[in-house]
Symmetry: C2
Subunit: 600 residues, 2 copies
Amino acid sequence: MTAKKKSIDLLNDPDQVGLVVPRIFEHKEQFTVSGGALENFHLAYESYGRLNDSKDNVVLICHALTGDHHAAGIYSPEDKKPGWWNHIIGPGKPIDTSKFYVICSNCLGGCQGSTGPSSPKPSQPGDSYGMDFPDYTIKDMVKAQKKLLEHLQVKEIFAVVGGSMGGMQALQWIVDYPRFVRKSLIIAATARHSAQTIAFNEVGRRAIQGDPNWKNGSYTIDKGPGVGLAVARMMAHITYLSDEGMEEKFGRETRAQVAEGFEFSVESYLDHQGQKFIKRFDANTYLKLTKGLDRFDLVGENGLHESLKEVESKVLVISFSSDWLYTPEQNKLIVKSLHRLGKEASYLEIDHKLGHDSFLIDSPNFLRAVRVFLQGMDEGERLMQNKAGFRTLSNKYEVKKEADFKVIDEWVKPNERVLDLGCGRGILLEHLRNSKNIKGLGVDFSGEKSTSCISREVAVYQEDIRKALKDLKDDSFDWVIFSRMVEELEEPGQVLLDALRVGRRVAVSFVNHGYWKNRLQFLSRGARVQNEVYPDRWEASSLRNHFAIKDFEQFCVKSMQKDQIFKMGRKVFHRGDWVKKCSIWPNLRAGLAIYELIKV
Amino acid sequence: MTAKKKSIDLLNDPDQVGLVVPRIFEHKEQFTVSGGALENFHLAYESYGRLNDSKDNVVLICHALTGDHHAAGIYSPEDKKPGWWNHIIGPGKPIDTSKFYVICSNCLGGCQGSTGPSSPKPSQPGDSYGMDFPDYTIKDMVKAQKKLLEHLQVKEIFAVVGGSMGGMQALQWIVDYPRFVRKSLIIAATARHSAQTIAFNEVGRRAIQGDPNWKNGSYTIDKGPGVGLAVARMMAHITYLSDEGMEEKFGRETRAQVAEGFEFSVESYLDHQGQKFIKRFDANTYLKLTKGLDRFDLVGENGLHESLKEVESKVLVISFSSDWLYTPEQNKLIVKSLHRLGKEASYLEIDHKLGHDSFLIDSPNFLRAVRVFLQGMDEGERLMQNKAGFRTLSNKYEVKKEADFKVIDEWVKPNERVLDLGCGRGILLEHLRNSKNIKGLGVDFSGEKSTSCISREVAVYQEDIRKALKDLKDDSFDWVIFSRMVEELEEPGQVLLDALRVGRRVAVSFVNHGYWKNRLQFLSRGARVQNEVYPDRWEASSLRNHFAIKDFEQFCVKSMQKDQIFKMGRKVFHRGDWVKKCSIWPNLRAGLAIYELIKV
């Protein structure tokens, strides 16, 4: 699938990469891969933009299984088919070639210009390697890319970016060269192939190997196992799409555009994909590449955290909601492991219905995420921040919005580790980082707010709070913050106890439902309390668990008696204006309460 | 996948069908199928149990794509492999052969004893039909089954039951012979193949047809397209399982039990499935059968409701949460359409992780659903009903539990159509049906409670209330009932308005939060109200939207002014004891309120 076609001038539009020229890097020395040694190798590559003087603006793009190095631009003024990520790479685009020096190479073991199974065998240049090409893995691809970068005199990668198999490379990069890469953007990938994915690949391999023209890999170019390779591609192609996406595109359409010999559009579409593929791809390469993928396993026997323990890069993992090949759960696993190691890692799940191939689609939420991860705050976020009503630590007109932030700000000490549950746009964590150099992690269920966090360079985990807490390690934070969001939780008591497993201290701020004005209003009106802090009318409200200081204290006392997990620390109460403090009769007089719970 | 092996004596255990003998039915006349005519046909079949005197105890079992007529029992005392649904069929089992006369036939066009592409061609008995066998569909299979039943002198089917392709037959049965079938149990099926399913089938067909041994279908038995057929089966087998199920079964296991030539267990497992399959199944039959499935389309151009409009049977559709071949959504579509036609249909979604093949697994929730749909109330439900605390209309000790039921019972008139949102175990609808012959539909999100409804012969739609309301047709009910569950809804106002689209009248009962005791308690304690009707402590509570009579009336007045969709009808208020009525100052004095809203 390619990006939506717009009426763009691929040659002259100012945001287009324009004409590009593929190059070949030749590594002339012996090179060891997992299954043996190569006497030398070539990598085909392209680059866009320019290396800056400080040589710190390199963005490395890694392509997917059957992709190539032609990520952006066109080859001639007449060329109508730009590179596969042309909508993301270019001047002013998310991967901005006016800022970054972008490099993309065809992977080692590929068949689009790099050395692989279809390349001539050095000992018998008339023949290709075929199945004699040594087995290779993602690790070998990354090692070869490193040689290319050395050749280009690159000393540091600002960011490595890849989707699908490219995401696995982006992950392998930060494992193998932790100090060489500043940021890693891993998209729609996995830390290892699941049984289902191995199964699909195996069926594809069996289709190729069962084709009599395969001849154990020693076919000639003009008579390869086209039938088997097409079947393999057709099947794989289904896994790149989603049920919903296919249904929308084809449904049961049987008439329009169905070529002769086919009954349903989807059949003719798949056939076309298969036929197109066998013209551009080599069967032995497909066999070797899929085996390499199946063997990719950073989890192994010792767990993913063991593989990731040297990681120093900032990581963002992006998954797509409808991706059933490398599912959100599989992507999330990478971030979970990094968090358990105390590393800075973010996770976003983009709501997109086109399945695995969503990463190739021009979709605004995904593009924004790529942009802000690489470039920081964008225009949208700046506009949002200037809006009245934006919760901040500096907007003097919105005292209520910041009252609890200020207290928490006083409590947190420099360099502490802070987990903010329901972090919204990451304002508090951004402030604490800038003022106190804390190490923060936010959790929010909203993709849009989580993307805002990324734009502030605040690490964020887009996830349900309960699930996120389960994933985090004991005592991995100095502070766990619930800023006015406990009301939104089911069984809040258990969530608070879970937070005390993860953090040494918990800060909880909440609107005190027991405030005297609420009581009087309820007494006299006999209807739900409604005012500035409880703005929703009943009929339009979401579900809530409002509570009073008294409820909270009763819970704390009961819990402390029962389990002795925590003791109560500081308490701050604000009166109804959320400015003046109060200490006597807080349940009656306070509008806002902030509590510190300390693990014992 | 077969049922879990238990230590059972397949021959002598009292709940076993024991020895069975397959039979052949011979239809000697010409028989037309969608793609042509057969001079005659055979169907292989088995039966278990006995036809009763009133001849109304026939249960017809329809098998899946590659299944057969051997659904239960064994062929010899030494036989260790009983029929494919042996755990469901037998004396005392969900399909109870001490009550039912159970029949299962190999489908027309199959290759396990019935006439199909692998059968001898009448004009050239030395050859088989092969691809000359006329195309056939689910409809033809059902028509042939009907002939078998006529031969067996069956005048009426008590229930037709089938999973996967068998479910499509069970659906086709009630479309084509609406007055012949009393109940239809459609499991893990669909009303038409989606683009994705067609795509998978097409890849399988291409693998077979691409095998040089296929020879356009004129292969000989000893040299068929085994490689292609095995690839097709391997791929299809992946779609029968779930990602999670495969991960649990195989993961990345590479050592134990992996046959030579394979790297991962899952590869060797799939190979085994493929090899086993080519020994028992015929390639041309596979091609024809999958085409028949792909062409199955009861939606067509006029919509599913058009196909289903003559249906008279009671229908239960069961899907499995992890089935991604025939998804819950696809199964649900059948029930939605039946509801839009005002037919009696229930939907259950069984939470099971093994994917499509879950219907072949011995799992208690599924087996219970089959049992109660066929046999009515079971022991578990009776025990539950005798429990203290069970909400009922007769338990005098639990006045509060039935207070609103009694009012609603007075309002509903005989023969009306009643939708109960959040129906729980279906007590109210059961009572209204028994006392007033109403036509009811319950909606509940709990699978366990929905199964209880089935056991009471109360039609139930296991679904989120908001989604269920969206699916139902305008004015399709006389009453929509919310019995003490509006508190659990987000934006309850909109849900009430949606209900007024679907029903002519809405009955809403709720606990009045404005009751004076609540107000006084909140005033004096300043903590969340806690008492008999609000039992949860804050820390352990789920999210709620408590409201008062005043809130409700304000919403109604505002809505009526704005849209004039409804007017308020009767109101009944109970005092704090939920027994005595009260009419003056209800917001202060009433503990329970029941309102009638009438569409204008």
